[in-house]
Amino acid sequence: MTEASATQTPATETAVAAKLASESRNATKAMLTEFWYYFSQNRGAVIGLAFFLALVVVAVFAPLVAPHAPDTQYRDSFLTPPVWEAGGKAAFLLGTDAVGRDILSRLIYGARYSLFIGVIVVTIALSGGIVLGVIAGYFRGAVDTFIMRVMDIILAFPSLLLALVLVAILGPGLTNAMIAIALVLQPHFVRLTRAAVLSERNRDYVVAARLAGAGNMRLMFKTILPNCLSPLIVQATLSFSSAILDAAALGFLGMGAQPPTPEWGTMLAEAREFILRAWWVVTFPGLAILITVLAINLVGDGLRDALDPKLKRS
């Protein structure tokens, strides 16, 4: 074997490398095709994904899509009902709030905040959780015990309570709310990553890589981690929706984004006092949260089914 490779010319070596690369590309492509096949079997997941993508487009192009600026106050139109109700105006499809701002436009701009919150929170929680989880699972021993005990402590507090307290320390505002939520969601990623790493670390392929001389960093993040991704992807999706929910809850309690930010939870908090007078100021922001979270959870369910090899077989 060594003799054969020694006699190979450099040209054939690059050819072999290219062939290997293309084969690995093909394998990835086949995997994605298979994944998409299972994912697309789930009608709800596809609908959820379509809605989510549409929301992303709307959020990105908010200034083009929204009929009004989110903070323009129309003094002649306080609490105008939606267009189909008596007294509605065609200019304000979903009506206006107590200071005459167009609700639809605020919702469209609000989508930016919700998606931004989701992305940032999941990025922080996921990267922090993966690093801690891989370290805990890979090194075991005292490091593992310490990390996991700290996670237990975080999990002993109801998530919203801990987020509230953190915001009390850091001061109310969207950024601090996001940090707090990321910290609260992180232990789930740590636990998942650790469990996956524990089940993988003694597999033959890891031992083989170790014997081939791979260092700790390479073993942790290049060899083991890619094989632990499925549960993390699902958890990331679910965390995306809980981040949106929690941020909205903090906004609702006055501890998240501050008025006049058109964040959906904050809009609800502002609308609360008009609840029995103007149903639309309360209904639409909440509906926006519900539908967005629902769409993401549908995608999450679809991902879980498509990535779970146990369900695949049946």
Binding site: I153, L160, L164, A168, A249, L253, R272, L294, N297
Partner: protein
Amino acid sequence: MLRFLVGRIGLLIPTFIGVTLVAFSFIRLLPGDPLDLLAGERGIDPERKAELLRQMGFDKPMWQQYLMYLGDILQGDLGTSFVSKKPVLTEFLTLFPATVELALCAILLAVLLGIPAGIFAAVKRGSFFDQSIMGTALVGYSMPIFWWGLLLIILFSGILQWTPVSGRISLIYFFPQDTGFMLIDSLRSGEKGAFASAVRHLILPSVVLATIPLAVIARQTRSAMLEVLGEDYVRTARAKGLSPLRVIGLHALRNALIPVITTIGLQVGVLLAGAILTETIFSWPGIGKWLVDSISRRDYFVVQGALLLIAAIVMIVNLIVDVLYGLVNPRIRHT
């Protein structure tokens, strides 16, 4: 079983110490020191302040302060509210029954509806019923409950005028609240209509608080049932000639309940977080509303105490659930 229990309690001790550390650090991490917060905008004479800080032990090294704090906790002293001047523990114990009453009603609702719904969906897998139940459950799972509460208020209190908007009982009733549980106290008072009023006040908050646990329990029951229904012992039960009711309701359900009990236990944290929102919306005088009010009033010793107490409750309930789990699972009970 005893070893199992001792092991679980042993695991709780470091976590509890961690929780006290978090609560301890909370006050020290706040911007400014406690007295600035207490004095507010009026300010305070520096000498008087130094004197007070000394009295409260804030001049000592951190580790001594922490040990003092631990000692206080062990004696049941969780500090005093700036606002009411009452001990935090006393306030907590006065308000706690209201939250327990609400949370118990909610979890009862969630279990009594969620488990049958999950079983039914699993047995009729793929049917219209399965799809509707699971669709509804996913909506419930995705629900922003603070909005859901407002929506129900608009419908039932605003349009239909069936239920009151806030509080635990109508103000026209006045009777001693010995147990703190309004349902029990109103019954014991013998006042006409008091119990009905308490029930009507309890309905909407319970429904709101039950929404997410209900959805989670229904989903978990369904998937646990589906897994169990494929097991060999279910086939054995059918091969014995048992009725479908007995096969599903006894042989399958008994096994499916094991993971479901864990799920129910995990809902305690969800319930307490939900109580913060639900009690705020319905002005329910429990610990959730107390906490939010204290944060906005900057009554930080209350927040610190509540933080510790709520974490302790979550830990105790989780311990009880672990024991229950061991009791329903013979593989753990007999090892």
